[in-house]
């Protein structure tokens, strides 16, 4: 066989996005990659498709979450070895899939997992590999403008790469703003691929969730935050107790930090950290604009304050007009009582 197949008009470039999961939950970063991929694809008249590795048990819930954001075709590889991350299973799965799909580009998160297996995939397939990239824009002549971040962010390396030569790009969180959830659920095509997935020589023993007490408040899912209204350093114990009961981290206003009640790392606001937890409970905080700017985008904002005029109420989803010293301990007790009920007594 020496006659080359007659190639039809070249297919539009394909940009694949690897939808990463961490412990059975989709990483938000994947949606940022998707936004970036869409922008890029639009500029080269290409198409975007999404890859998901999952197990049978998780398939339904992951797919549901994915479908809220994705209108592009989805490639699904389901295998019991994907119950946990392993370099070998992920590498072998992706290598086989890429051989089938022949993409021009693959976007992955520059996460621990992404950085772990993507280099091995690139090596096995002889793809180009660009670690730690920023938003890619296309340049003229079918060449990709790629910016890599090096030297701890102090240098950017610019490269031109032909779109025709397949490449893997890993990107850090924050490359793009994730697209909003689709209003009407799109119904993209979902293709399942049955592949042989290798098992590796590394076995998961235990998952260790972050300790809310030491977690960076920017990464916390829930925050209990206190201000000058807490009264003194000792009273912060009330907030800590509530935080522990909720599995939340402790945060504070600048007033509380300036008074030395809470360490600076926990300050929320324009001269502190900008936080976007799912829950932000603000107690004894008036809500100066400097503070609001740092927490306004939290999912649900709960306020406990004795002053109905406090500006913080203007951003609250749920407000309590009351003394935090009376309200919070009761709330903590209530949550603890609930927990006891939920975990049946084992000792008799």
């Amino acid at each position: 066989m020496n006659s080359l197949p007659v190639s039809p008009s070249p297919a539009p470039p394909l940009v694949l996005v690897f939808a990463e999961t961490l412990w059975g939950k989709l990483e938000r970063l994947s949606f940022e990659l998707l936004a970036d991929a869409r922008k890029l694809a639009a500029s080269v008249k290409g198409r975007v498709e999404v890859v998901l590795f999952t197990t049978q048990e998780q398939r339904a819930s992951l797919l549901e979450e994915l479908l809220a954001h994705v209108r592009e075709p989805i490639h699904l590889v389901e295998h019991e070895n994907f119950a946990e991350y392993s370099t070998e299973s992920y590498t072998s799965g992706l290598v086989q899939l890429l051989q089938v799909l022949q993409p021009n580009l693959l976007f992955l998160g520059a996460t621990t997992y992404g950085r772990d297996f993507a280099p091995r995939v690139a090596a096995r397939l002889g793809y180009a590999y660009f670690p730690h990239c920023l938003l890619s824009k296309t340049a003229t002549g079918g060449k990709l403008d790629i910016t890599r971040v090096t030297h701890g962010g102090r240098v950017h390396i610019q490269t031109n790469w032909p779109l025709a030569a397949p490449a893997i790009l890993t990107m850090k969180a924050g490359v793009a703003d994730a697209p909003a959830a689709e209003k009407t659920p799109p119904n993209p095509q979902v293709t399942s691929h049955a592949l042989k997935i290798a098992a590796g020589k590394v076995r998961l023993k235990k998952r260790i969730p972050p300790d809310p007490r030491t977690l960076d408040i920017r990464q916390a899912e829930k925050l209990v935050s206190g201000g000058r209204g807490v009264g003194n350093k000792e009273n912060f114990a009330v907030l800590r107790a509530l935080a522990d009961a909720l599995g939340a981290s402790l945060a504070a206003s600048r007033a509380a930090v300036d008074l030395g009640w809470v360490e600076y790392e926990r300050q929320v606001g324009q001269t502190g950290k900008t936080v976007t937890p799912r829950l932000y409970l603000a107690a004894g905080i008036s809500g100066a604009s400097h503070h609001l700017m740092g927490m306004r985008d939290a999912g649900k904002i709960v306020v406990v304050n004795t002053d109905r005029q406090a500006p913080i109420f203007s951003v609250a989803h749920f407000g309590v007009l009351g003394d935090l010293h009376a309200v919070l301990p009761r709330l903590t007790e209530r949550i603890q009582a609930d927990k006891k009920k939920a975990t049946p007594a084992t000792s008799k």
């Binding site: 950017h156 076995r203 609250a316």
Partner: protein
Amino acid sequence: MKVLHTTPFKIAVCLKEVLDARLPLKVEAKTGAIQQDAPEPVVTLNPADRSALEFAMQLREQSPGSRVEVFSVSDVAGQAALWYGLARGADDAERIEGSGKGAPYTAALLATRFHKETFDLICCGDETLDNSSALVGPLLAEILDLPQVTGVVRIVECSKSSILVERGLERGSRELVEMDLPGLITLKAESVPWRYVSYQKLEEAQLRNIPVRRETLPTSSNGLPKWPEQATPTAPRARVKKSFTPDSKMSPADRVRMIMAGGAAPQESKSKSSVVEGDAEYVSEQLYRFLKHHEFV
């Protein structure tokens, strides 16, 4: 760290001397040269490599008879990293020179050495301070067909046949995993507290002659990812993060008003309707229900 069995280990550590990118850097606009804002370049042993070295030394201490060898792919100037390794107590050091530039070549050159001799454990830094590619470890493992765990933040236990480590994941989560040996791990910077190396030790190490191995790689780069030759360093230009911008079609007064309000019109109605008051018992119960309803408890 706990060490089971007392069979001696053979450990390789890969080291690199890097420009200290924690100091202000500047990229010369015309030449693309990366320079520090200092009269003399300040170099350092890559911080993550230091963790790798320190871990290897601790393992050797707890397991008598073990050997630690340090390697570096570099030119002569880069041998300072090896001196440091020796000063810290490594048994042997070797510098490797070869053609090609970039992380894949570094991995391939290191692999030529490890093809000749098997180590129980290869330890690398997770990422370099300069190139920040996090590529050498996984590629080396790939070429040598070894299992790997990258991004290690803690070593829990070590035996002749396996190692138990924690790897750091996103947002403070971690995972405890067990890997069969021989294998490769990469350690994160500052994951192992390091010990002070005296100046005297360093001076002694500098007197030692470090052997150089020159390797040529096969021209076909099979089994390696492609790595761009042409790359231009530039001063970083951060991506513009989207921030609230009033629509140009709004009236000037409304634009200014929205900017003064920090991007949001105050939501009077929302707040008025959702504030509860009353005795502490009642309001805490309401608050509890709100949290419950939104699945925060």
